[in-house]
């Protein structure tokens, strides 16, 4: 099941070893491999939700194979809306996606904007470097998309988990550990400092129930995994970083004359 139309794709000449490994017979690390598979699926799902609009194929997954699991965790789609008028559901989620994540005034889903206030800054370079180390490169599907998009980054975590599972499948524990380190490092260093807080703000502004739920789910998943990865001090630091918001400085109207000249 390929949940993602991820815009991170294997680079030419890269990642061949992983793909070859993927077709090898499963080895003996069944439980960990299954866990990694689940992790891969979860992050790919979250990435797919945030990376681009819901389309008919994804909606079919949401209302089909994924439905029981989603229902179990509380992500419930409005049956009447989805089943009676799927086109309207797709249109309304597309409109909401554009308003939330694309159009001016949106809650920009890019780490560069979150960290630096501008598009395409150093966090982009860091994301690209991580993708390249894993043998991937970023290709946008629409204009105005950058490598440090939260959805793409979540999808990348899923991809790394999948590689880990594959390595375990062929009993290559060294390789699996290498993939795990990459995943955990990426999660801690590139998503951890901002993505959960971003999810919280975006959720507050989301008007469509689907995105409110997805954003809440994403935030919870991230906090859960970050708590497992980070020591107490580091986790507190992440909590602080994710609380970042513009500070309203006290403004004394009498300090400067109206002219201000």
């Amino acid at each position: 099941m390929d949940l993602s139309q991820n815009t991170v794709s294997p680079a030419r000449g890269g990642a061949t070893k992983c793909e070859e490994a993927a077709v090898s017979p499963a080895g003996g690390h069944g439980a960990r491999a299954a866990e990694c598979d689940a992790l891969a699926g979860l992050y790919r799902f979250l990435g797919r939700c945030l990376e681009e609009e819901v389309d008919a194929d994804f909606l079919a997954l949401l209302t089909g194979p994924l439905r029981p699991a989603l229902t179990e965790i509380g992500l419930v789609l409005d049956d009447s809306l989805v089943q009676s008028d799927a086109a309207a559901f797709l249109a309304s989620t597309a409109e909401e996606f554009t308003a939330l994540f694309v159009a001016p005034g949106a809650v920009s889903p890019y780490r560069s904007v979150f960290e630096k206030g501008r598009n395409f800054q150093e966090p982009c370079d860091e994301a690209i470097a991580a993708y390249r180390q894993a043998g991937l490169e970023f290709q946008n599907r629409y204009s105005g998309e950058f490598p440090d998009h939260v959805g793409v980054m979540l999808g990348f975590v899923g991809w790394l988990a999948e590689r880990e599972a594959e390595s375990l499948g062929v009993a290559d524990e060294v390789a699996a550990d290498a993939w795990r380190v990459r995943r955990e490092t990426f999660l801690l260093e590139q998503l951890g400092p901002w993505a959960p807080g971003w999810c919280r703000r975006a959720r507050i502004l989301a008007q469509h129930a689907f995105y409110r739920q997805v954003l809440e789910l994403t935030e919870r998943v991230l906090w859960h995994d970050l708590q497992a990865l980070a020591d107490r001090r580091r986790f507190k630091e992440l909590e602080r970083l994710n609380r970042r918001a513009p500070v309203r400085l006290d403004y004394d109207a009498d300090f400067r004359k109206a002219s201000g000249l």
Binding site: E53, A91, A94, E95, F97, T98, A99, V102, A103, P104, G105, V107, S108, Y110, V113, F114, E115, K116, G117, R118, N119, F120, Q121, D125, N140, Y142, S143, G144, E145, F146, W194, G197, W198, R201, I204, L205, L241, R244, A245, P246, V247, R248, L249, Y251, A253, K257, A258, S259, G260, L261
Partner: protein
Amino acid sequence: MITRNSLNLTRRGFMKLGGTAAAVAASLESRRLVAMEQSLGGKDFSAVTGAERQAVPYTCLACNIEDGGVAFVENGRIVKLEGNMDHPNTRGKLCAKGNAGYLHVYDPDRIMTPLQRTGKRGEGKWKRISYDEAATILAAKLRQVIDRSEREGDPAIRNEIVFKWGRNRTGGAVSRFMHALGSNTMVNHTNICESSKKVGLEPSWGPDIESCDWANTKYIINFGSNVLETAYFMNPNAQRLVDGVVANKAKLVSFDVRLSNTAGYSDEWYAPFPGTDGAIALAMAHVIMNEGLYDADFVRDWTNVTAEQLIAHLKPYTPEFAEEESGVPARDIRRIAREFATTKPATTFSYRGPCKHLWGAYQEAAIHMLNVITGNVETKGGYCLPRGMGWPQPEPNPPAGKVPSVLAKPPLYPLASHAVSTNVPYMIMKGEAKVSVWMSYYDNPVYAYPSSHLWKDFLTDESHVPFYVSFSPYMSETTELADLIIPDVTYLERHDPESMPSGLYPCLSIRQPVIKPLGGTQEFRQTLIDVIRKVDPDEALGVRKYFAFDTVEDWMRAHFDNIPGLKEAGGWNALKEKGVWPIYGKVDQETAKLVDRNGNEVEAEYGLHRKRLSASEIADAEIDVQGTIRKNGHAIGVSINGRGHVGFGTGSRKIEIYKEGWREYGFNPMPVYKRLASREKKPDELVLTTYKVNVHTQSRTSSLKVLAELYHKNPAWMNPGTAAARDITDGDLIRVTSPLGYIVTRAHVTEGIHPEVIAISTACGHDAYGRLAQLKHREADPEYALGGDPDVTHNVWWDDKGVHPNPIIRLAVDPIGGSQGWYDTVVSVTKAEPGDMYGDVRVSTEQAMKDYDETLRYAYTGDLHRAAHKEVDVDWDNLPKPALSVGH
């Protein structure tokens, strides 16, 4: 001999040596280490790695001056902009706007993918689509109009395709596109800018602007221009003005209702009543002519009037008359006139102050005349013709549409060669023209036009504008109303040919992408290619061939690769490398003048009008009684003392102080002064004027944080006496009321303004244009709370975005030049009333429509025109009938 043992290795000894060495430090410093800044630009280095950054030349478009720039790129990211030292007119300098321009590229509020409207118009609901999908939608809309035109056999239908721009520096791309579609309805913005200056100048001497030789002059009279901060060619003009005043000891006299930074820098500043500059200029001409201070040879040889005719015409315009109108003392007018005429060389410069009024063209013509009668035209240090260069359009080039456009060439304004864009929505709302597809480019009339609220009503109403596409990369007040947005890239990511006459050295320059268009965005030129290919997929319409460029760069090569001189220098590739051509020399590090390889100054060329016609040019030509040399029905020069000169770009090839073309429509053919309605205002009323500031354009820069921090609020300037009479003190909330309605803003009480004027700057009070322009991050926290940008988080210390005055400014069109009379609105000013809130705007669309009817009464067919021009010798009952101009 000093031995090792003899060294006194104590701290005291070290310090003593150090102290001694410090005293002679200059002679001890390394001669191989120099400060980077001393290289005068052109290179830059990474602060982290020390590696030299990639330098890519470009032409600025932060505003319209088109300065030469160099972008420094590190890791594919623009990290710094600076002036291009090879540009002969801007000499390595950019203004604050230009330096901040790269922030446009990375602005998180930039539109980076096409958006299609999903909700009601203006509701802010969109879905993103691809550039290809967007081009398909637009092409289908355009094709519908073309097919209807073909079906009904009516080419005029194609004029329902409208292209409106505020800034079009595409070098002919828009015209090519529109002509390929068969439409002539291209509407510029020039009548909210300086069109009456242009129309005051063009019939006088050909081109639409002067190029003062500031650096070499000795005397400057500045009428209503803030040239050190804004105005046409601000950066190059300001540099040369400072050269003239500081290095050449020139005297600068300014007339401005407000103490601008230019006025403050002047030797003398006078604040005339708004719209009376023409009376002052005419009075100065009166003094110069009557006291025999004029250049008799120049008037005789190079104008179409005699000194006697001028003296007779100027008789009523005494300095005392001018004092009565303007408030400027007659003795000062007389003295300045004498100084101007007897100090050589001298020049005037003027900008919006005189021309942005009803009959503004008369005022510009009067100021221009001062340079003519003193013989300062085209002299070193004088008032020179602009110098530009052209480039060819790639062939085949589409012909103009078959039918003239009533919107692009309004018949009631036959002399307004730069159109009357302010009237366009009124004409459509009154059924005088129809729109099917409205396209806009670099245009924000919902913010930038007079009675701006009317534009919002107009563009919101789908019965007036059925389909609206914006090419803006920013969500302006106007683009918010679009049905489709196909965002262009910023000016640092695209191609354009350029040639601006911003100095005395003519040159070509280019824009080129200094980085790849960010995030896969697409430049406008490519969108035009794509749309035409979709409009004419099978070449059945025969227009696809006009856009047969494989790449945008091929289009640019077609402009530049075969220009004589440039071709030998390398054509387009040479321009890519240097950004500008020709390379006249280097900027001298001491004098900042252009010098050749021997260190000698590269002199500009003067006396362009005196250039001799060749024997072959004169062969078979005829000379009329005025001395005009004509060949094949065209004036090619003028004969003076038996010699053929190219002369000026007028019908007679002389400077036409007398304009027969004006008389035909009942306007005075000579420069005159007409008293404005504002001059008749009640004693307790004020005249509202606006102005630009040095760090902002009219509309586009408020989203740039470094500029927004420098200037973000615009309290209304009031004179202390004026304020006291209304019990207003600095910082008070005030209500400014015109017949259109009122705004609530704050007062800035200052001596630096005429007592009967209130002045409010532009560039503030946005309702759109990104989070900083609107201060949205404060109003709707956490809506715009994006996290950790330290600048936005900690340094946006201001809570005041200002109040925009345009909604209360009345439509008032100069019937000659077509300019909007920005400075003709009469207002009352009071303390704010109970319940008034800062930023309140209450205005009437109904009154705006009445203002349109009122301003038409001043057009050449109107009753107020006739009443104001009783002195004109014309058959008033048989004026030319309003007619559409042929072609475009």
